[in-house]
Structure formats: structure tokens, C-alpha cells
């Protein structure tokens, strides 16, 4: 299910807990098995498009796999990279006029409404809401993941939620 831990384990703890002899690629695969679905769903919520989400997640994991020990904190790195990659793809699509939408991907109606409403938020509002309200990360961790300040994240959250509330209320009314 889509329930994220409220706090990420600090990387040192996580590395120490890795069994002796476990290679970095094993560790990355385990990260994917444990977190991949959640990251993908967060990316779906962020990008509003399963293709963009899949590409971003695959590219982020592929990159961290190739970078090996160069990446100190693979989980945070993957989160940040995946969002950046998706943001880049969204920008490309806007430029080339390719529509972004959940398409016919199978999901429940409330989830589809949510994804569509999120699409009306600014990107930083969206990433803040998705990581905080969806993934359960505290605003400080959201700031670390997206490379911002905690205060800025709170502002994005506040504005994003207000907008989302309006959109989903209209949706329910309509």
C-alpha cells in the first residue's frame, strides 16, 4: 500500500544495517523493491502521467545504479532525481504540445480526481503536497529531497493545499 514511513532512515544507519557482503547494486535493488512502488505513485501524482512516472523512476534508479558508491544517500538521491527528471519531461512536453494526463491507466476515481487536481498546482506546490501529504515526509525532509528550505516547503504546502481544497470541493460540488 501507499503508506510511506514518516521519516527516512538516515543513510548511515541504513548502510550499517546492510548485511555484510551485500553489493551496492543489491542494495539499490532492495531499495527499489521496498520503495519503488511508492516513488512511482508519488511521481504519478506529481506528473499526472504514468509514462512520465515510469520513465523518471527507471532513469533515476538506472543512474543511481551506475553511480554506485558515488551517491551517499541513494534513497534521497532517487527521490530528488526522479522528480527532476519528471519535471524536465513535463517541460519538454509543454514545449512540444504533448498532453499530460493519467490516460486510461487503471486507478480509482478519487485517485484520478486527485491526480487531475494536482495538475493545476505549481510544480513546487505539487511536489510538496505529494511528498508531505502523500508520502508522509516532514517538511524538513521534503526540503532536503527537493533542495529547498523548510520554510519554502511550508509555504508551498499551504498554498498547494488551499488550491487543492478548492479544486476538489468544486469537483465534489460539480
Amino acid at each position: 500500500v501507499f503508506t510511506f514511513p514518516s521519516v527516512l532512515l538516515p543513510v548511515k544507519v541504513r548502510v550499517e544495517r546492510a548485511p555484510a557482503g551485500v553489493s551496492r547494486s543489491d542494495e539499490i535493488e532492495r531499495l527499489y523493491r521496498e520503495r519503488g512502488d511508492r516513488i512511482w505513485r508519488a511521481l504519478l501524482a506529481f506528473a499526472g502521467d504514468p509514462e512520465v512516472a515510469s520513465d523518471a523512476v527507471a532513469e533515476a534508479f538506472a543512474q543511481v545504479l551506475r553511480r554506485g558508491d558515488e551517491v551517499r544517500d541513494p534513497e534521497r538521491w532517487v527521490w530528488r532525481a526522479a522528480f527532476r527528471i519528471a519535471a524536465g519531461e513535463l517541460k519538454e512536453r509543454r514545449r512540444s504540445g504533448v498532453a499530460v494526463n493519467p490516460g486510461s491507466y487503471e486507478m480509482e476515481e478519487p485517485a484520478r480526481d486527485l491526480v487531475l487536481a494536482l495538475g493545476a498546482l505549481s510544480e513546487r506546490q505539487r511536489v510538496s503536497v505529494v511528498l508531505h501529504d502523500g508520502a508522509g515526509y516532514p517538511s524538513k525532509e521534503v526540503a532536503r529531497i527537493i533542495g529547498s528550505t523548510e520554510a519554502a516547503v511550508r509555504v508551498h504546502l499551504m498554498r498547494g493545499r488551499r488550491r487543492l481544497r478548492e479544486l476538489l470541493r468544486d469537483d465534489a460540488d460539480g
Binding site: V1, F2, T3, E29, Y32, R33, G36, D37, W40, R41, L44, A45, P50, S54, V57, A58, E59, F61, A62, Q63, L65, R66, W77, R80, A81, F83, R84, I85, A87, G88, K91, E106, M107, E108, P110, A111, D113, L114, S122, E123, R124, V127, V129, H132, D133, G134, G136, I146, G147, S148, T149, E150, A151, A152, R154, M158, R161, R162, L164, L168
Partner: protein, 688 residues
């Protein structure tokens, strides 16, 4: 539970594809490829709005019109006089060129910056030694006509990029020295008392281009960093008072290879910026939204270094026309349109700085009343809480007097003293010592207090009601959580309420239309009663653990940064209260006043001590352009007197003795003062 939890839970049931096989076999894209999405930062790209081709259009039509003549002020800039760079000034329409400096060819002038009154120009003089190799730069100032040049920095190291504080007393600048990374420093405008404002730590490669915000509270600067995934260039906006107090706006410039020339718009909302974020161009940063957009670009024009007209409607920047190797100045409307070249300037015109229009002298405050007298003291009802004047009426809050939270708002005719309307309300000011918590504004009476909680446990919620003064009916009720509303005010279009929360005091910001909470600011104190808004800040006074006799503290909230700062009141004071007069905040010290100066590092102003003892802790104080109205008591605690304190002279004049009642609250009208008494009476004092 997280907000929108049901919908996210629904999303959580969406099946995710298994991508591992693809990940293992995938060849990662080259992260250094310029068009690769990996170089894109989420925050910025969505807001880039390129107004393509404007640079070319500008050159086509440049110089034909004479724009912005009404925008005021001259434009100082640096340009080459034949042998070296000098400072010049010119009118915004391109007329009246004047050379202000006459440096030797061993010196180079740059980066002029006007003092806030437009009277002096700070600028940088770069000097070379005999070999022409080594160099040092110092900041000088001179009068607007070039007279009285004065060197204000004298090394060691170099000083660049001066930016004046809005009160003209200080200059922020970039200091470069051999043993330290570039940092932002602040000095007095005569060069004395320099200190480091930023500290460029381990991941920081240098700070530069300071720009002091028009309200004086913040300094924007460019920071260059250099570690791993960190974006190398960023715009940062730090509070002047305590640069370490976060949070602060931080705007990353992903893809930039340089950034410089920060310049605040006169209203302090946006910063112009010279960077190459998405191709060289003139960008502006919306500081509150932390977003950036492109104003103008053009491969030939290469706009850089900009400055705003005093009215904020125009912007001047330097650019290089196609086919030329020499830059010149352009003036455009603030949105980048209506671009025109200033013709006839010396070559390589750069670093334009638009002269501020000297601030108009403050109008004389209205004269104090020549006489005052009690017209009448009449009964309004039991358990009166607060009084306010507005919309031509006197408004008094009284409770139901039965222990419930509700009561009545009485609208009273100031001439006849008749009750024009009696409005039953669920919320009245609850503070038993009276005063505050009511504001009349734009056809509405706003009242804060407590509303019965949803349960029957007797716990109340802080609430605000809005009464429509055209219908005398409660139009809206906002439940704000917490327990009891203490006072309210308006700032930046939003409603701000000081309230007693679950765990100490809070200031909440709410949408005035919907009551929707926007932000909560914790104030570490057990009590606070009065909230004033001025100069974009909110100020309240609070007490500590001892609710009876306290060392009061002042709390300042900067809504833009969220910074809550605490300032100790200079003397031990029984319930200090902030009050606004002539646009300044004063604090009551009992007996006396002190000024809560803008940017005060504590209270630098001496207190004005009065012999008069104030009548009560809080409801006695009202300020307007005439001064601060307060009630005093004789040493034996009797004989209340209405007084007017003149902030300009520090004198207090007794206006009239009040022979009836024990005052709890006061409202000031243009021609009267209304004093509410514990006895349930209202005293009408006429001002002559």
C-alpha cells in the same frame, strides 16, 4: 492524518509497474547534455516566461520616443570617457548628460548606487599599481552633482557593489579579501563599524551583489556554492536583524553560469536579476513566491545590470545593440514592453542606477485639541468589554452577563447617544480588563473573542465575527481554533488575530473572505493583548510566567519571512503595550513611552518618562496622528485624567479630568474621545 488522506489512500491502491528489469538494462542518459531533463529544477522551469524577440524590436524602435520623463530622478551609470570608466548621470529621457567623476586612467569607476534621499552616490573605484597588475577596489561616495567625493573603505581587500540601507545610515557591500571567501558586509555610510553580514561556509564559494530591501528589513544577495548536487548559483534574501534566523527565501538558479546585479522593485515584491538562466536576459524573482521569470532577452541585446524607477513602473538596464561592441542603456516598462534606447551616451554605458525621488516631507500632524470637556456619562449596559469608533458610530461590546460567551454589540449615535442598533452576537471581546479586539474597516465591524466550543466541556474556541455595518447583522463567523481571540488587525490584505492557543499565545493569519487559516505563528508567552501592524510587520507585547508583574517583551513578526523575533523592553514595565502614532510604534512603559524603532536592535531610543501613572494596563491607550491618547490616575489610584502624549516633543498634556467611572477602554474619534467604564457607563469627551 495527512490532509486529503482518503484520496491519497485511493492513489495508494493504484498498481505500480515493475520497472526493475528496465532499470537494470537501461543506459542512463548523459546528465551533462544541455537539453537533458536532469538539469532542470522543479521550482524554476514552470515559471519561465520568455518574451521572445523583444530585444530586436527594441533596437528597431529605440531612441524615437522620450519615455519615462515623469518617472522622476536621474539615472547614474558608468561609461568610458575616452581613457577610463567614469560615473555619469542623465535624465530618464536621455537629456542632460553630466560627468560626475574625473578619475585618472589608473582608476576605474563602476557600480553607482544612490542614497535613499537621492542626495549622494556610492560607487566603486578600482585602482591599479604601476605595473597595472594588482588591483584593489574601494567604495566612495559623492554628492549627486559629483562634488564632495569621499573614500569610505580603505582596504584591506576590496569592496564592491554598494547598496544603501533605506534610512541612508548604512551600506551593504561585497568584501573580497585574500584570506576569506567573498562575503556581504555592512558598514555605516561613512565607512565606520564594518561587520560581516553573511558567513560563507564550507559549501559556499562566495556571496555577492547585495541589495537592501526598500523596507530595510532584508538584504538579497547572490550565493555561489560548489558541492555535488547543489545548484551553484542562488538568490538569497536574509533578514537584516538576525541573518541566522531562518526561514529565508532561497531561489536556485539552475543552469546559470553567473548571476549579479540584484535590484529590488520599490515595493519590495520582486528583484531584478542579471543571469543567464535560460539564455542571457533580464530576469525578475518574485520574492514571496520564490519564483523567477524572464522579463526580456535577446541574443544581441544581452541585457544586464538593472535598476527600477522610483514609481516601480519602469526599469533601466544596460544592453548591447546588434552589431555593436559597446553597451548602452535601455528603459522599459516594468513588464519588459515599450523598450527604448537612451541615445547619445558615452560608450560602454553600464551599471545604471535610477535616482530615488526624494521622499516628500511628512504633512504636519493635525493640531492637538485646544480644549476638551465631558459632555455626558451615560449607562450602556452591564459587563462592558470594549469600545471602538467608526462608520460614524460608537460601538460598544457588552456580555450577556450570564457566564456565556456571547453578548451584544451596541451601535450608538455619537450625537444623541441613542442606541441605533443592538446586535446579538456569539462572540464579544472576552478580556476582562477591557479594550481592543474590535476594528471598524470598510463597512465592517470585526470582533474577536471566544465562541462556545462544539462540546459541552466549557472549552471555547477563538473566533472572529464580521458585522456588516450597512445591515447591522453578523455576516460571518470564523472559528480559529485555540481558545480566546485577544486582538485583530489587517496586513497584506489578510486578517491577523492574536489568540490564546493550546500552548501559549499564537498569531494566526487568515483569509479575510473565508476565514481559512493561512499561517500560525507561535509566540512563546502566556499572555499578549494588543496586536499592531505597521511597515509590513506585526508587533505585540507579551508577558512571561509571572502574569502579575512582568518584564514585558516585544514580539515582532515578519510575515514575509515568518521570522518571529523578540526584543526586550528597556525597563521593568507593567504590561507594555504597543500603540501606533504618526506611522511609528510606541511602547507604553508606565510611566512613560519609548519608541519601537524600525530595525531596532533592542531599543536604542531613550524612553520618555512621565510622571503620570497609567490608569490601567491596556484599554487606556489609543494612537493617531495627533499623538497617543491615554488615561492616567492620581497616585492614590483615583481621579482619572485624559491625556495626549506628543511623540515629537515627549510632552504629555492633561486634557480633562473624568469625574465618573473607572475607565477600562477608550475610543478616539476626530472630535471626541469615548471612554468605557467598569460601571457599564460610557463617557463622551468632546474635543475642541
Amino acid at each position: 492524518m495527512a490532509e486529503f488522506g482518503d484520496r491519497f489512500a485511493s492513489l495508494a491502491r493504484t498498481r505500480a509497474p515493475d520497472l526493475w528489469r528496465e532499470i537494470e538494462g537501461r543506459e542512463p542518459r548523459d546528465p551533462n547534455e544541455p537539453s537533458s531533463p536532469q538539469r532542470v529544477v522543479v521550482a524554476l522551469v514552470a515559471f519561465l516566461v520568455a518574451i521572445a524577440g523583444i530585444g530586436i524590436a527594441a533596437v528597431t524602435f529605440g531612441g524615437s520616443d522620450r519615455p519615462a520623463a515623469a518617472a522622476g530622478g536621474r539615472i547614474a551609470f558608468a561609461a568610458v570617457d575616452g581613457s577610463t570608466w567614469q560615473i555619469y548621470s542623465v535624465a530618464p529621457d536621455g537629456s542632460g548628460l553630466v560627468q560626475l567623476t574625473h578619475l585618472s586612467d589608473m582608476e576605474v569607476a563602476s557600480a553607482p548606487a544612490w542614497s535613499p534621499d537621492g542626495g549622494r552616490v556610492a560607487f566603486v573605484v578600482q585602482t591599479f599599481d604601476e605595473t597595472g597588475g594588482t588591483r584593489r577596489a574601494d567604495i566612495w561616495t559623492m554628492d549627486a552633482d559629483g562634488s564632495d567625493p569621499t573614500q569610505v573603505t580603505h582596504g584591506p581587500g576590496s569592496s564592491w557593489s554598494p547598496s544603501w540601507s533605506p534610512d541612508g545610515t548604512q551600506i551593504a557591500y561585497t568584501r573580497v579579501s585574500a584570506h576569506q571567501r567573498d562575503q556581504i558586509w555592512i558598514m555605516d555610510s561613512d565607512g565606520s563599524d564594518p561587520y560581516a553580514f553573511t558567513h560563507c561556509g564550507s559549501e559556499c564559494l562566495g556571496d555577492s551583489s547585495p541589495s537592501w530591501s526598500p523596507d530595510g528589513t532584508r538584504i538579497a544577495f547572490v550565493r555561489r556554492t560548489g558541492s555535488g548536487a547543489v545548484i551553484p548559483w542562488s538568490v538569497n534574501v536574509w533578514p537584516v536583524r538576525d541573518p541566522r534566523s531562518l526561514p529565508v527565501p532561497h531561489i536556485e538558479l539552475d543552469g546559470a553560469t553567473f548571476a549579479a546585479g540584484l535590484s529590488w522593485s520599490p515595493d519590495g515584491s520582486i528583484l531584478a536579476l542579471d543571469t543567464d538562466l535560460d539564455g542571457a536576459g533580464l530576469y525578475v524573482v518574485d520574492v514571496e513566491e520564490e519564483r523567477i521569470r524572464l522579463v526580456t532577452k535577446g541574443p544581441a541585446l544581452d541585457p544586464s545590470a538593472s535598476s527600477w524607477s522610483p514609481d516601480g513602473n519602469h526599469i533601466v538596464f544596460s544592453g548591447t545593440p546588434p552589431g555593436s561592441e559597446s553597451s548602452t542603456l535601455y528603459v522599459a516598462d516594468a513588464d519588459g514592453t515599450n523598450l527604448r534606447e537612451l541615445t547619445g551616451l558615452p560608450p560602454n554605458a553600464s551599471w545604471p542606477a535610477w535616482q530615488p525621488t526624494p521622499t516628500e516631507t511628512q504633512p504636519e500632524p493635525p493640531p492637538p485639541p485646544t480644549d476638551a470637556g465631558v459632555v455626558d456619562t451615560f449607562t450602556v449596559g452591564p459587563d462592558v468589554r470594549s469600545v471602538v469608533f467608526g462608520e460614524g458610530s460608537v460601538w460598544v461590546a457588552t456580555s450577556n452577563n450570564d457566564g456565556s460567551e456571547g453578548g451584544r454589540i451596541l451601535r450608538i449615535d455619537p450625537e444623541t447617544h441613542e442606541v441605533q442598533a443592538e446586535i446579538p452576537v456569539e462572540v464579544i471581546p472576552t478580556w476582562e480588563v477591557g479594550g481592543g479586539a474590535m476594528v471598524v474597516e470598510e463597512g465592517s465591524l470585526w470582533v474577536t473573542g471566544a465562541i462556545e466550543g462544539p462540546g459541552t466541556d466549557g472549552v471555547s474556541d477563538a473566533a472572529v465575527i464580521r458585522i456588516d455595518t450597512s445591515t447591522n447583522e453578523v455576516a460571518q463567523t470564523f472559528d480559529l481554533g485555540g481558545h480566546v481571540g485577544a486582538d485583530l488587525t489587517f496586513l497584506d490584505g489578510d486578517l491577523w488575530v492574536l489568540l490564546f492557543g493550546d500552548d501559549g499565545m499564537e498569531v494566526v493569519r487568515a483569509d479575510r473572505e473565508t476565514g481559512q487559516l493561512i499561517a500560525r505563528f507561535r509566540v512563546a508567552a502566556n499572555w499578549a493583548h494588543t496586536l499592531v501592524a505597521t511597515d509590513g510587520r506585526l508587533i505585540t507585547a507579551v508577558g512571561g510566567d509571572d502574569a502579575v508583574n512582568v518584564d514585558g517583551r516585544m514580539i515582532q513578526i515578519d510575515p514575509a519571512t515568518g521570522v518571529v523575533s523578540q526584543i526586550d523592553v528597556p525597563t521593568r514595565s507593567f504590561t507594555p503595550m504597543p500603540v501606533l502614532s504618526r506611522g511609528e510604534v510606541w511602547v507604553s512603559l508606565d510611566p512613560g513611552f519609548t519608541r519601537f524603532a524600525p530595525l531596532a536592535q533592542g531599543f536604542p531610543d531613550p524612553s520618555v518618562e512621565l510622571e503620570l501613572r497609567f490608569s490601567d494596563c491596556c484599554g487606556f491607550l489609543e494612537g493617531d496622528d495627533r499623538g497617543i491618547w491615554f488615561l492616567s490616575l492620581a497616585p492614590n489610584g483615583t481621579d482619572p485624567t485624559l491625556n495626549l502624549f506628543d511623540p515629537a516633543t515627549g510632552d504629555a498634556a492633561g486634557l480633562v479630568e473624568l469625574d465618573q467611572g473607572s475607565p477600562v477602554a477608550m475610543a478616539v474619534a476626530p472630535d471626541a474621545v469615548w471612554i468605557l467604564n467598569y460601571e457599564g457607563t460610557l463617557t463622551h469627551v468632546r474635543l475642541g
